[in-house]
């Protein structure tokens, strides 16, 4: 079986865009969560959101105004990853695929159309509504911008979409179906309909009036829920020998990908289902010489809901046994919010950065420990990691799908010109 390595990473997130900026903010607990401004905020009972404040224009010639925001965010993240990888003209277009995840796709475009028709009674919609709103628009725009002529696929697995897209892309490379892949996730859910729909689910965080940016508190006793955010994360994945031959920066290897489905409830998390996905990823990683004890950092799904964090605490214990007591775990959602279809990609990148820079981002705002969440959640301060061998990222979706990714470091001797 061929090996998949990461040769490029890119992020557009509420906690900063560009991987350097993003990771520095995670280490320093700089939050991108804010009350959503009027007029949108005035319609909300729970008005928190995590917006990307950076400019997300790209140099591919695709104007952000001419596509839905979920595509624009994706293109911005892809541009960073593609440049870092130096991937342009390095692989036959037919051997290069695009694998992207999204939960809602172009929801804001659909909402604008409904507003035009039902509220403004214009009786006409923007003529590019179909091309903007379709869930595969982001993947298609990426393929068009980069000239990728291999498979161009979109995965809709709610909050696991980004992780699934990366995992499936990795498998496509391992099988030989493609040599290179642009993989990740993107989401732009900060429109009235989506925010209101979530408001009804009783899962959103209550606002801390004095310090609204700290309202999302994973694993803390005073946690009240998640904060919706927009963003995108993108990787360039590549077959190992191909990356080596062209002297690409080999950042890490995809060592494990595990999937499971709870089949117990549409939204209530299930510890056994989650543990099954972690075990599946660990079994695959074992084939590359990585054991459970080699996982040096785990980026948790950690949404900051009461049930979710407690269940994940339990599932980590079941999957890791004794190692769970000493394994550093954090949820970076406290700072970038829940990016839904982009979460798996952005958080896997946070884990990859922890691996390559030997420091784990903390769980921000974790001032009050919850006895029901009794693992090492790296409260408040980043943690130095000594020669980390591998990292894990968890993504658990509504619908019951659990997706887990493991990355391992690649020995410098085999990573020519690695940075």
């Amino acid at each position: 079986m061929k090996r998949t390595v990461v040769t490029g990473m890119g992020v557009a997130s509420p906690a900063g865009s560009g991987t350097d900026n993003f990771f520095n903010n995670l280490l320093n607990c700089v939050s991108g969560i804010r009350p959503i401004a009027a007029p949108l905020g005035d319609r909300l009972k729970l008005r928190l959101g995590a917006q990307v404040s950076d400019c997300i224009e790209n140099s591919f010639g695709v104007r952000s105004a001419s596509v839905d925001r979920f595509s624009a965010l994706a293109l911005s993240a892809v541009q960073e990853a593609w440049c870092q990888s130096g991937a342009a003209n390095q692989c036959p277009p037919e051997q290069t695929g695009v694998y992207f995840g999204t939960g809602f796709g172009g929801a804001a475009t659909v909402e604008t159309g409904y507003t035009d028709l039902f509220v403004k009674n214009t009786n006409r919609m923007h003529p590019l509504s179909v091309l903007s709103a379709m869930p595969n628009a982001a993947a298609a725009n990426i393929a068009l911008a980069l000239g990728c002529k291999g498979p161009c696929l979109t995965y809709a697995v709610a909050c696991a979409s980004g992780a699934v897209a990366i995992g499936e892309a990795s498998r496509a490379i391992q099988s030989g179906a493609v040599t290179m892949a642009v993989a990740g996730g993107t989401e732009a859910p900060l429109s009235l309909v989506i925010l209101k729909a979530w408001e009804g689910l009783m899962a959103l965080a209550l606002e801390d009036r004095e310090r609204p940016e700290t309202s999302c508190r994973p694993f803390a006793k005073d946690r009240t829920g998640l904060v919706l955010g927009e963003g995108a994360g993108a990787l360039v994945l590549e077959e190992y020998e191909h990356a080596r031959a062209r002297g690409a920066p080999i950042l890490a290897e995809i060592a494990g990908y595990g999937l499971s489905n709870d089949a117990t409830h549409l939204s209530k998390p299930d510890a056994e289902g989650q543990a099954a996905a972690m075990r599946a990823a660990l079994r695959e990683a074992a084939l590359t010489g990585i054991g459970a004890n080699d996982i040096a950092y785990l980026n948790a799904h950690g949404t900051a809901t009461k049930a979710g964090d407690q269940t994940e605490t339990e599932s980590i214990k079941r999957a890791f046994g004794e190692h769970a007591r000493t394994l550093p775990v954090s949820s970076t959602k406290a700072l970038h919010g829940h990016l839904l279809g982009a979460a798996g990609a952005v958080e896997f990148i946070a884990a990859l950065l922890a691996l390559t820079r030997s420091v784990a981002p903390p769980t921000a705002h974790l001032w009050q420990a919850d006895p029901a969440c009794d693992l090492d959640y790296i409260p408040l301060e980043p943690r130095e990691l000594k020669s980390p061998a591998a990292v894990m990222s968890n993504s658990f979706a509504f619908g019951g799908c659990n997706a887990v990714l493991i990355a391992k470091s690649v020995a410098p001797s085999s990573a020519l010109r690695a940075t």
């Binding site: 001419s66 006409r124 003529p127």
Partner: protein, 83 residues
């Protein structure tokens, strides 16, 4: 002076950041970087500018002059309906 043509030219300049001398009646839209989707999107804005409906027409549009002709045809059709 052809008001429709002048307005179309002006809107094209503004919408696609073009210079006046680029936008002659004979200018080919593709040469101006205005592809088929951009043309459709531009037509949408023209509907507002001229208060006409262009949705029912399928005439080929290749030049700036074609767009102006398109709008005039739609205006005539609309006038005929409301007459």
């Amino acid at each position: 002076m052809d008001n429709v043509l002048a307005t179309v030219q002006e809107l094209l300049q503004r919408h696609f950041q073009l210079q006046p001398q680029q936008v002659t009646p004979e200018s080919n839209l593709a040469d101006l970087g205005v592809d088929s989707l951009a043309t459709i999107e531009f037509m949408f804005h023209l509907e507002e500018a001229f208060d006409v409906s262009l949705t029912e027409f399928r005439d080929p549009v290749q030049t700036v002059g074609d767009i102006a002709a398109f709008v005039r045809k739609a205006q005539l059709a609309q006038a005929a309906v409301s007459a």
